[in-house]
């Protein structure tokens, strides 16, 4: 029997698969095939090893910080009742709204020699700046602190969900067998939630590995910084390609690890009874100590930096920034990028519904784009451009940048739409088809209205992600197309922090929208 030709409806997703995947594979291919130019030994000794070791050390410290912030907070919030618990349960997600580079600017100012913390120390003790030791943010631990503080909510969200979903009966059985609160955490709660926590940690570390702005500002030579510098400063495209390969290897491994941990490898719950949280009221003073610790995390990771940015923004220098061209470029790129990535995500979501092969292929390719840091994709785009011999300017640059946005963020758009789709009854399509509704009619009458809530969330998330994106925009934007993120970074690296605050605050403000949406969705899920 002759094999059926692929349906015409498979062509758009296949085209988008190529579109999303191409920059990643170009960057990777360039990394594997890098030939002429700097010798391999030079790249290995002077670039690859130092950049890689710095990146891995940063990830290690950031991971410890994330676990330290997220896991105890998630455990206490899911299991115990204490003053402010409801507030902290969603407020601890807020740091996600702050890009790492904005957190770095704020804490650099807070911790600087002339900043409020050191000034207070000197005022209180009468010492001079040379007489005491103070932690240096411009270091690997400093970068790890910044990234850990902004990205720990990834771990917090998964840990909280895992702890909340644990059967209360299991925990009460443990208590009836004499387990004290710490035993409950170490022997029952943590081991059961560990796979989910490690999954969240791997995702957060993948995001940390993709950072460019914070590391560049703090002068830490991570792989992300190395890629951009090798291309723009050293003129070593082969080095950039090799570094990109290493970074994708690290980020990809973390993504695969995250999926493995979340993909049923973990232990299974044997009890589902009393899932609704019945929290134990903490005795005093433990309740207030817990409140204080949660407040401290929120202060360090959100309130202190945001307050400092607001303070700086109110100083006169900040008002001198001409925001109009920045907003125009940011909005134009944001809207166009969101539109393009949204269409790609919608096509992927609908294709995944209709074919198991397309579901697998679109997920794989979207994940590849998601795991590839912006700097790597930017590099892929530059390699492609070099092949065509075109200059990086005008419409070409904007087209290239939009392409990279699609490649990087399609996965972020697919996720909420897929989640909406997964909640629908599986036989809905069959029911519609049995009633004679198929093709475009089904798309407009059924798919689109049902996808609406997820599509709205997807659009919002995409817009904010593009708004925050730094390395690829920095590498590919044409002249006169500085976005808020690019300008904030430029001001900050020029040590004009006051001017960087207003664009930074606008980015945080926009970032709050999807974070609040996420928080609302999580609370709704917990309630149901």
């Amino acid at each position: 029997m002759p094999r059926a030709l692929p349906s015409l409806s498979a062509i758009p997703p296949m085209l988008i698969i190529v579109l999303v995947g191409l920059p990643v594979f170009v960057a990777l291919f360039a990394g594997v095939a890098a030939g002429d130019g700097a010798t391999w030994d030079h790249i290995l000794q002077n670039r690859l090893l130092p950049y890689t070791s710095t990146t891995l050390l940063t990830l290690l410290i950031a991971g410890v910080i994330m676990l330290g912030f997220a896991v105890p907070a998630a455990w206490m919030i899911s299991q115990y009742e204490f003053p402010g618990r409801r507030f902290f349960s969603w407020a601890l997600i807020l740091p996600l709204a702050m890009p790492g580079y904005v957190m770095a600017y704020a804490w650099a100012d807070l911790m600087g020699v002339a900043g409020p913390l050191q000034s207070q120390i000197r005022d209180l003790t009468g010492l001079s700046a040379r007489d005491y030791w103070f932690p240096n943010l411009f270091s690997v631990p400093g970068l790890a602190f910044v990234l850990g503080s902004t990205l720990f909510p990834y771990v917090y969200i998964t840990a909280r969900a895992a702890f909340s979903m644990q059967s209360l009966a299991t925990l009460e059985a443990a208590r009836s067998l004499g387990a004290r609160p710490l035993d409950l955490f170490w022997r029952v709660g943590l081991p059961v939630a560990l796979p989910a926590i490690l999954g969240g940690l791997c995702l957060a570390l993948m995001e940390a590995a993709a950072d460019y702005g914070a590391a560049d500002f703090l002068g830490v030579q991570t792989l992300g910084v190395g890629i951009v510098r090798s291309w723009t400063s050293f003129g070593e495209p082969n080095t950039a390609a090799r570094l990109a390969l290493m970074l994708v290897l690290i980020a990809g491994s973390l993504l695969i690890a995250a999926r493995l941990y979340q993909g049923g490898k973990g232990v299974q719950q044997t009890s589902s009874r009393w899932l609704s949280p019945q929290r134990t009221r903490l005795p005093q003073p433990l309740a207030w100590i817990t409140t204080a610790l949660c407040a401290l995390i929120l202060l360090v990771c959100f309130l202190a930096p945001i307050s400092r940015l607001l303070w700086l923004a109110m100083e006169s220098n900040a008002r001198r920034v001409d925001l109009i061209p920045l907003l125009r470029a940011t909005l134009a790129l944001g809207v166009l990028g969101t539109g393009a990535a949204f269409v790609a995500a919608l096509v992927f979501t609908l294709a995944a519904k209709r074919s198991a092969f397309l579901r697998m292929a679109t997920r794989l390719i979207a994940a590849a784009g998601y795991a590839a840091p912006g700097a790597v994709l930017g590099l892929g785009a530059l390699f492609l451009l070099r092949e065509t011999g075109q200059p990086l300017a005008g419409a070409t640059a904007i087209g290239l940048l939009l392409w990279i946005y699609v490649s990087r963020f399609t996965s972020a758009g697919v996720e909420p739409m897929q989640a909406t789709l997964d909640r629908l009854p599986r036989n809905l399509d069959h029911a519609a088809q049995s009633l004679g509704s198929g093709g475009m009619r089904q798309f407009f009458r059924l798919d689109l209205p049902l996808l609406a809530p997820g599509a709205l969330a997807a659009g919002l998330i995409l817009f904010v992600e593009i708004l925050k994106e730094l390395p690829a925009t920095l590498m590919l934007r044409p002249f006169g197309w500085d976005t808020l993120a690019v300008k904030a970074h430029a001001y900050a690296t020029d040590e004009r922090l006051a001017q960087a605050t207003l664009p930074s605050l606008l980015i945080v403000l926009a970032g709050l929208l999807p974070v609040l949406l996420l928080s609302w969705r999580l609370s709704a899920t917990e309630r149901s």
């Binding site: 059967s167 009460e172 208590r175 059961v192 232990v267 009874r273």
Partner: protein, 338 residues
């Protein structure tokens, strides 16, 4: 070694907002006996168990283990210090631990070798030796429940509370698991509370039954007493089917046998059996396992009588039969209890 004492609930009450879950409930769980607590959904069974276990604090009343006050207006011994074993309907095994590790969980106060030995002994007693190193998700429902019972009994608890422990099991294995579990509990000679909504389970396997409704313990005592002499319609219904009949509609010779003048009576279906007595017409017949449920039409009345009996041959509607009664299974209840 912990001495085994009764577990006592004395006038215990617990409300949630405006809803009274348990009201002035008193019950004594005797060591070595199984007390069944039965009642419909939402009657307060589980809240009562949670109060005994220490998962809830009573608003008033006392809970004692012998002389030791576990809960009162001024004192609350937390669950982890009560040494009361708990067994849940859905097992609540620790999913990250093997059968052996689950059973060893509550034995921290013993040396490692002793812990292993004690746990293995319970595992053997409950027929789980071949599953010693298996994780919960590899066990059948019956094996999971036996593990949960071994885990609860291993630390020599002062009492064991079972919250509908067998209702989640496949009917084909329920009997075997229940026998193994309850034999082990009886052998441990601890006070045991079996919360269930299955009347036949309570009647067959408990030494004492307490019936609870709307948070109030209506009656407690030996199964036979509660079945044959319920103090209210709710208790009678909780333990099996009862039917209502107007006394005046009964044949005269039956009225003479029943020593009460109450106008309305309730009777269990097995109170009416085939034998020498008044004539009836069969208006319906249904085989219900070991017995046949008959509907017997009363002469000169629209009412029918329900009988659960064992006729020698199958009966068909329209056939004439004679029936007799066991007057001990006819009840009258005060108006307020109906």
């Amino acid at each position: 070694m912990t001495s085994i004492r009764p577990l006592i609930a004395d006038q215990v009450s617990r409300s949630f907002g405006t809803v009274t879950a348990v009201a002035n409930a008193s019950l004594t769980l005797t060591p070595g006996e199984i007390t069944a607590l039965i009642g419909p959904s939402g009657s307060g069974k589980t809240t009562f168990l949670r109060l005994l276990a220490g998962m809830e604090r009573p608003d008033s009343g006392q809970i004692l283990s012998g002389e030791r006050v576990l809960a009162s207006a001024s004192r609350h011994v937390p669950i982890e210090k009560r040494k009361i074993g708990l067994v849940f309907q859905d097992f609540a095994l620790f999913p990250n631990m093997t059968v052996l590790q689950n059973v060893m969980f509550g034995l921290r106060e013993y040396a490692k070798d002793e812990r292993v030995h004690m746990a293995e002994s319970w595992i053997e007693q409950l027929g789980l030796t071949h599953r010693r190193d298996a994780y919960p998700h590899h066990l059948s429902g019956g094996e999971q429940q036996r593990t949960a019972i071994a885990r609860a009994l291993a630390p020599k608890p002062v009492a064991i509370l079972l919250d509908e422990p067998f209702s989640g099991l496949d009917p084909s294995m329920r009997g075997r698991v229940r026998d193994a579990a309850l034999n082990a509990i009886r052998a441990a000679k601890v006070p045991a509370l079996l919360v269930t909504h299955d009347a036949s389970e309570a009647l067959l396997h408990s030494d004492t039954i307490a019936v609870i409704a709307h948070g109030v313990i209506l009656q407690s005592g030996p199964p036979d007493t509660l079945y044959r002499a319920p103090n209210s319609l709710a208790v009678a219904r909780a333990l099996g089917p009862v039917h209502e009949i107007e006394r005046s509609n009964l044949p005269a010779e039956w009225r003479a046998e029943i020593k009460t003048d109450a106008p309305t009576l309730w009777y269990r279906p097995e109170a009416i059996s085939l034998g020498k007595g008044p004539d009836f017409t069969v208006s319906g017949s249904r085989l219900a396992g070991p017995v046949t449920e008959l509907c017997l039409k009363l002469p000169d009345s629209k009412d029918v009588l329900y009988s659960a009996c064992q006729p020698g041959t199958p009966l068909k509607p329209g056939e004439g039969v004679q029936a007799m009664i066991n007057p001990a299974l006819f009840f009258e209840f005060a108006a307020e209890s109906t």
